[in-house]
């Protein structure tokens, strides 16, 4: 972004031409409490002095050690990823409007699609969606269109509460019923007995989160086969890193998932409050005309050379208007660029190593923290890089006290899953060392002890 300063005269002229007296008046409609940002800078500081001041203030925020997952995950991102992604040739957030004039961008998106199809074990993917939660909403709408009948979709409560809320917000005014399925209290996975009553009642699709919000592995083959036996579609919601180790949704059950999707952030996009992240969605070839968003195809030009073009555009909103497959299918070009570079740098073996390291670290952490008095694992189910811990004190208080010690120790489950009691979701990725895990366990032990003593006193 170039630095383009305005002189006071420029500002005066611009204000005069739109008919306001001052900058303050221009922003008048923003509530004053939101405008009270006072940087408290002395007048006339040099650039060097301002830099030093800002660095000091940034340090005051401190650095946290994060064991927090619940949908967004801290991973090591090789320095080359964003070095390449921010090159001028790539550094644009959108698919270009004159798409075919930008062969480099289209080639990158085509390679992204190819990698994601390979990772998910599905036939086709699009060029990305806004985020994982809205990708699920699109998958639900897509399933209802494909099934041309029942407007009911089964959604396990083991799916992220955020995803459930987003999907409800997007589809609830479209006459689609979302039925929440309970989970088994001992395994933390979808209660298979709860499926039976839906064998007599039509529904369009079953959503299968894997790993689920508790980090637990669902019985995906059984669930996918059951959905297909009811003539419904199976929608897989996955973590893209997990499928480097686990079977991809294309291989669940006898037929594989019909639609698979997830949050792409773990593939090279840094953690940030509010994103930008990106969603991915993939499907079987037979369903491609109902898949929303842009799809890049490979073709030959008039001289027989390989080239890339947008394809299947007739289902998109610039042609089909209100009858398009979606009118909110924003893609996330820059985040996808980083993800493509991340996957290319790691390769399948590299991604498997990341997944293995995450899993080994989680097992090490679980083994260690369950020796802490007052801490136990909630579910005895196999997990991937997250697990639920029950603690003997308020999870909210415990997490707050640990945060004061610069430790983000997990996600408090008591609001969304009060039946779990004092429970938190802890996440470990490849970024943590044995010493970090030891530090986590020690902090947990001492803080938990303090809270217990305070409660007893």
């Amino acid at each position: 972004m170039p630095f383009i300063p305005h002189t006071e005269e420029d500002v005066r002229a611009m204000l005069a031409s739109i008919g306001v007296d001052s900058i303050e008046q221009l922003f008048d409609e923003i509530p004053p409490e939101l405008r009270q940002i006072k940087l408290q800078l002395a007048e006339g500081l040099s650039e060097m002095e301002v830099m030093r001041l800002m660095q000091q203030r940034a340090q005051a925020d401190g650095e946290y050690s994060s064991f927090l997952g619940a949908g967004a995950y801290e991973h090591h991102i090789p320095a080359a990823v964003w070095q390449i992604a921010t090159r001028g040739e790539f550094y644009s957030a959108y698919t270009p409007y004159q798409a075919e004039a930008s062969q480099g961008t289209l080639q990158l998106l085509f390679e992204y699609q190819t990698m994601m199809a390979s990772l998910t074990g599905m036939d086709v993917t699009n060029a990305s969606l806004y985020d994982g939660a809205s990708a699920l909403a699109e998958a639900v709408l897509m399933a209802v269109r494909l099934q041309r009948g029942p407007r009911r979709v089964l959604v396990p409560t083991t799916l992220s509460p955020t995803y459930r809320a987003v999907v409800r917000a997007i589809v609830s005014n479209q006459d689609i019923e979302l039925v929440e399925l309970p989970y088994a209290p001992d395994t933390g996975t979808t209660l298979l007995d709860s499926l039976r009553r839906w064998e007599a009642q039509p529904f369009a699709a079953l959503v299968i989160p894997h790993p689920n919000f508790f980090g637990a592995l669902e019985p995906v083959h059984k669930l996918a086969d059951w959905a297909h036996a009811q003539n419904a579609l199976a929608i897989g919601v996955i973590n893209p890193v997990s499928v480097a180790l686990l079977q991809p949704p294309g291989a669940w059950g006898d037929k594989g998932c019909d639609i698979a999707l997830g949050e792409g952030q773990p593939l090279g996009v840094p953690l940030a409050g509010g994103g930008p992240y990106f969603g991915f969605i993939a499907c079987k070839q037979a369903h491609v005309r109902q898949m929303p968003g842009r799809i890049v195809g490979q073709t030959l030009d008039a001289e027989g050379r390989i080239g890339f073009a947008l394809t299947l555009q007739a289902r998109e909103q610039h042609i089909r208007r209100s009858k398009a497959t979606s009118n909110i299918c924003t893609n996330q070009g820059l985040a996808v660029t980083a993800a493509t570079i991340y996957m290319a740098i790691l390769g399948p073996e590299g991604l498997r190593n990341v997944a293995r390291a995450c899993h080994a670290n989680l097992l090490a952490l679980l083994e260690r923290v369950t020796t802490v008095p007052g801490v136990r694992r909630r579910f005895a189910t196999p997990v991937f890089h997250e697990a639920v811990l029950n603690v003997s004190v308020s999870a909210h208080d415990l997490l707050e006290r640990l945060q004061e010690q610069r430790l983000l120790a997990g996600f408090d489950l008591s609001r969304d899953y009060p039946e779990l009691g004092n429970a938190l979701l802890v996440c470990v990725t490849e970024t943590k060392t044995q010493a970090d895990i030891e530090g986590y366990a020690n902090a947990l032990q001492s803080t938990l002890g303090q809270l217990q003593r305070a409660a007893a006193a």
């Binding site: 041309r148 005309r289 007739a314 089909r320 009858k323």
Partner: protein
């Protein structure tokens, strides 16, 4: 211009043919396929589903556009032309042989309300200007 005289037409460019068994075959006119260009996909309705006259029940997609196909008369879908799944180009090759679906009309009198070949020719002649 290719407008067979034995068919009935709609102002949304479908043709309808009353078959001997009383069913109605539906496709798009030569003029419609000419305007759409090369068809790449035909989405036919589900057999057994009922549509009201004028209701969107199928979709044709060409290299430049996608359009809904509307039921010329009310009725239930009795058969669909599965050939078009793999060979949508048949619509371009012979628009009047490439029927898309057959309806069992709920009110056979509605056929009489459709445009005649002469009326349809006037309609597309006006469209050309």
């Amino acid at each position: 211009m290719n407008v067979p005289s034995d068919l009935r037409y709609t102002d949304s460019h479908e043709w309808a043919r009353l078959e001997r068994d009383g069913s109605v075959s539906v496709g798009i006119t030569w003029h419609a396929q000419d305007r759409l260009g090369d068809l790449v996909y035909v989405e036919v309705p589900t057999v057994g589903k009922s549509f009201e006259k004028g209701e969107a029940c199928a979709v044709v997609e060409s290299v430049k556009a996608a359009s809904d196909i509307y039921a010329p008369v009310s009725g239930q879908v009795e058969a669909v032309n599965q050939d078009l799944n793999s060979s949508p180009e048949k619509v371009n090759e012979d628009a009047y042989a490439a029927w898309m679906f057959r309806l069992r009309p709920s009110d056979p009198g509605q056929m009489g309300m459709l445009l005649s070949a002469a009326d349809y020719e006037k309609l597309i002649a006006a469209d050309e200007h």
